[in-house]
Amino acid sequence: MENQKTPKTVLIAEGLLKSYALKGNAQQVLQGIDLRVIEGEFVGIMGPSGSGKTTLLNTLATIDRPTEGNIFINEQEISKMKDTQLSNIRRKHLGFVFQDYNLLDTLTVKENILLPVSLTKTSKDQAEKEFNAISGMLGIKQLANKYPAEISGGEKQRTSAARALIHSPSIVFADEPTGALDSKAASNLLGNLNEINQARQVTIVMVTHDPLASSYCKRVIFLKDGKIFSELYRGEKTRESFFKDILDMQAVLGGGNQK
């Protein structure tokens, strides 16, 4: 439930175009996308392969640049920023969860999680406190001194999520976070994300092709051929009925890129 005061908008995208030049033929991947995400939202982005999901996420997450259009993160226009400024935005305001975890295998779980707070002015005690809070919430506290090679995929992904949350970012971007997990580990992780989203009012934008994963979201955006095809709000529905809605929408959308 949103409260009485008007929630803050953390992410705005206006008229996003993205094209890749392939041997002279420009291929349009994003064909004009408008999007607004408010603080505390848990947004899912779905769509068939080739619909531009990951490109959209990368563009929003400042890893890639749009060919045209504007992106505002916390009311700052980022599409014209220099690389160093973008890095700063990423480090201070964004968090990332990747499909293949992207943990540094030379670092322990705790070291991996605390990596984003290095180079910031966070004190050691503060960092320790944050680590305890987040790893407790994700249930990985006892793994602190293990190396990524010594833990399971689900644990790795929870570590990755903890790393994305440790510096209290405005938005967490998740790219197919459950893609490499079995269903039990996946629902564990999603449950955790959901709790954190509610408890800490963290904004999460997640790309997924898994209807079960997106049923945890408050809103799901469907992409098709680089455009927004439709949107679904969960509202007061149970997760199960939202899940059915999503499946229905997917059926309308079609699984592949049929022309």
Partner: protein
């Protein structure tokens, strides 16, 4: 697609990866070519025939050069095969036979090798004249250098090259046939050496490594005093320092890093994540090569410093051994002829006569169980020496100073005052030797240990040494040239007028002789050192290149998390400094102790030449660090 096409394509695709390998090959081939050109040069051939030293030196250097080139090429080849293992695996996966793959790889290698051979010989031919001039300059010969393209050198180089190709081909065959598909696909992310948590054993081994090095250093200081055990002690020092170095790399360093890391309690930070963490994990896997690099560095630095010191201090050393330009003993007639001939040639000189006594005596041993050492001594008067232009202090009345440039090698540098006993008419038949000096007061080759006393003591001893024992009064005629430009002519006059059976030599001939010897030594040491440093540098560079590729995903993740290239480079530079400076530092300390032992060979101070050699080595070595860091920078920049 035919095999040839595939080979050419794959070379073209891999050329970037290969370019350093290619340059390294060109480099070693051209150096070998230069070396064999010099070996076959007419001027040098004549010199070599004249001297055993020269020919052995050339032979040993040639063998070492071939050896290093082969080891280095094998090392580089193994790294490159490993880097291409996925490609090799893919070929096998699509059903190509191992025989086919080996053939393609060998063909590639041979084509690259032939290219390197051609360019290497061309570069070598261009540079060999320069090297010959350098060589002639070093040994102080002014000869007309008419260098022709030596076909003998070409044949030798081709022979060595063929060996090289044969060895690497065998290596390729062995690698391809031995490895399974699974190994090939996993070769790039092999973490078989990954150290996670060092155990108690490793802390013990870590300490053992440090103590072994310390022990080796300690034993090295004993070598000089125990020359009889030279071989044994040297082997002991080598074994314990090399083993110690290996342990230090294998365990000590990662153990120290682990302890440091544990203290951080998880809050490692970016810089340490990019330096301490990967170093700790990889040190064990790098132990072999880092030990090799350290030992090679130590060897190179010692070799270069020592030979450069010998060369650098030749004049001083010869002067210390031969304080007078010419000297003859009891040869007034010859001295007169020499004087007049020198005057004829209008060469200005000073001429002095010096008295001396030669007598039989003995060094008194402190230990009564050991027999006194019987020697023949020569006694000189300090006052006369000062008159003859020598800068010596007069000893106290009744005491003597022992002058010998080889005192340390002969083990005569300790426990002064010593005593010399001689058969005497008086009751005092002992002469107190209060100290020693590392310089002669009379040219060497005159028989007898040199003792310097005051004029008064000299006179008293003249009478007191018993008549019935061996005692001889000597008259030395010594010459100092005031005009060194004609030293050649003067040297000829001197040598033709003294009986050649007496093996008397003059300062200038001795100086020329040792300058040639040490010139050859520094030249060969320099050449080998150059090859050593380039191979060690390249090996480290190759290793770091591979590591950078392996860690590319880490860099991408960090970039995605919002760390900037500059910030990440700070951590990476730190890691590179560790990787490069630790072997360099240990190598320098090893070399310092080795040089400490070697310093007995030279009477003059070695400090300047050692500092110059070490500085040169450090500068060249650090160039590789810079190149590596630049490579990392490009990887990090392009990671996203």
């Amino acid at each position: 697609m035919t095999t040839q096409k595939l080979v050419i394509r794959s070379i073209r695709k891999n050329i970037k990866m290969y370019y350093l390998y290619f340059f390294a090959m060109i480099f070693s081939i051209s150096l070998y070519f230069i070396f064999s050109t010099l070996q076959n040069d007419q001027t040098i051939v004549t010199m070599v025939e004249a001297s055993m030293n020269f020919s052995t030196a050339f032979q040993v250097a040639g063998i070492l050069l071939i050896f290093i080139t082969i080891v280095f090429t094998m090392y580089a080849t193994s790294i490159f095969i490993r880097r291409r293992s996925q490609e090799i695996g893919l070929y096998q996966l699509i059903g190509l036979s191992k025989a086919w793959i080996t053939r393609v790889l060998i063909l590639e290698q041979t084509i690259l090798g032939l290219g390197a051979l051609l360019i290497g010989i061309l570069v070598g031919a261009l540079l060999s004249r320069l090297f010959l001039l350098l060589f002639m300059n070093l040994i102080g010969i002014e000869a007309v250098v008419g260098l022709t393209f030596s076909s003998q050198a070409v044949i030798q180089t081709i022979a060595v090259f063929t060996c090289l190709i044969a060895v690497t081909s065998l290596q390729i065959i062995w690698t391809v046939y031995r490895s399974t598909l699974l190994q090939l696909f996993q070769a790039n992310n092999q973490n078989d050496y990954f150290v996670k948590r060092p155990s108690i054993v490793s802390s013990i081994l870590g300490l053992a490594g440090l103590s072994l090095i310390g022990f080796g250093y300690y034993v090295s200081t004993l070598i000089v005093d125990h020359a009889d055990l030279l071989m044994f002690l040297m082997l002991l020092v080598l074994a314990s320092t090399i083993l110690g170095t290996y342990l230090v790399f294998r365990t000590t360093i990662s153990w120290i890093l682990y302890v440091y890391r544990k203290k951080q309690n998880g809050n490692l930070g970016l810089y340490n994540s990019l330096s301490v963490a990967p170093l700790m994990h990889r040190m064990k896997g790098h132990a072999n090569s880092l030990t090799l690099i350290t030992v090679l560095s130590a060897m190179t630095i010692t070799m270069i410093s020592l030979s450069y010191s010998l060369y650098y201090s030749t004049e001083k050393d010869v002067r210390l051994a031969m304080p007078f330009d010419f000297a003859v003993e009891n040869m007034q007639a010859e001295a007169a002829i020499i004087s007049s001939k020198l005057e004829e040639e209008q060469i200005e000189f000073d001429h002095y006569e010096l008295d001396a006594i030669r007598f039989d005596g003995a060094w008194v041993e402190q230990d009564p169980n050991v027999d006194n050492r019987h020697r023949t001594f020569m006694l000189f008067s300090a006052e006369q020496m000062v008159q003859a232009g020598l800068d010596v202090e007069s000893p106290q009345d009744g005491e003597a100073i022992y002058h010998n440039t080889r005192a340390i090698i002969e083990g005569m540098e300790n426990s002064y005052p010593k005593y010399v006993e001689y058969p005497s008419n008086d009751e005092v038949n002992r002469l107190t030797v209060s100290n020693f000096k590392l310089e002669n007061v009379m040219n060497y080759r005159f028989y007898g240990e040199q003792l310097l006393v005051s004029e008064e003591t000299f006179k008293r001893m003249k009478d007191s040494i018993q008549e019935n024992e061996y005692k001889e009064f000597l008259a030395f005629e010594v010459f100092h040239l005031l005009d060194t430009e004609k030293s050649d002519t003067a040297s000829d006059i001197f040598l033709t007028n003294v009986d050649s059976d007496l093996y008397i030599t003059d300062f200038y001939s001795a100086y020329e002789g040792s300058r040639q010897n040490y010139g050859l030594l520094i030249f060969i040491a320099g050449l080998l050192g150059f090859v050593f440093i380039l191979s060690t540098g390249s090996i480290l560079y190759f290793k770091q290149m591979t590591e950078a590729e392996q860690e590319k995903t880490h860099y991408r993740t960090l970039r995605q998390l919002g760390f900037q290239v500059n910030e990440m480079m700070k951590g990476i530079v730190r890691k590179q400094l560790f990787v490069y400076l630790i072997p360099l530092g240990i190598g320098l300390i090893h070399a310092a102790f080795a040089l400490n032992v070697g310093s007995v060979l030279i009477a003059a101070s070695m400090l300047t030449p050692i500092i110059i050699s070490m500085a040169a080595y450090i500068v060249i070595y650090l160039m590789f660090t810079v190149v590596t860091i630049r490579y990392y920078k490009s990887i990090v920049t392009n990671a996203l």
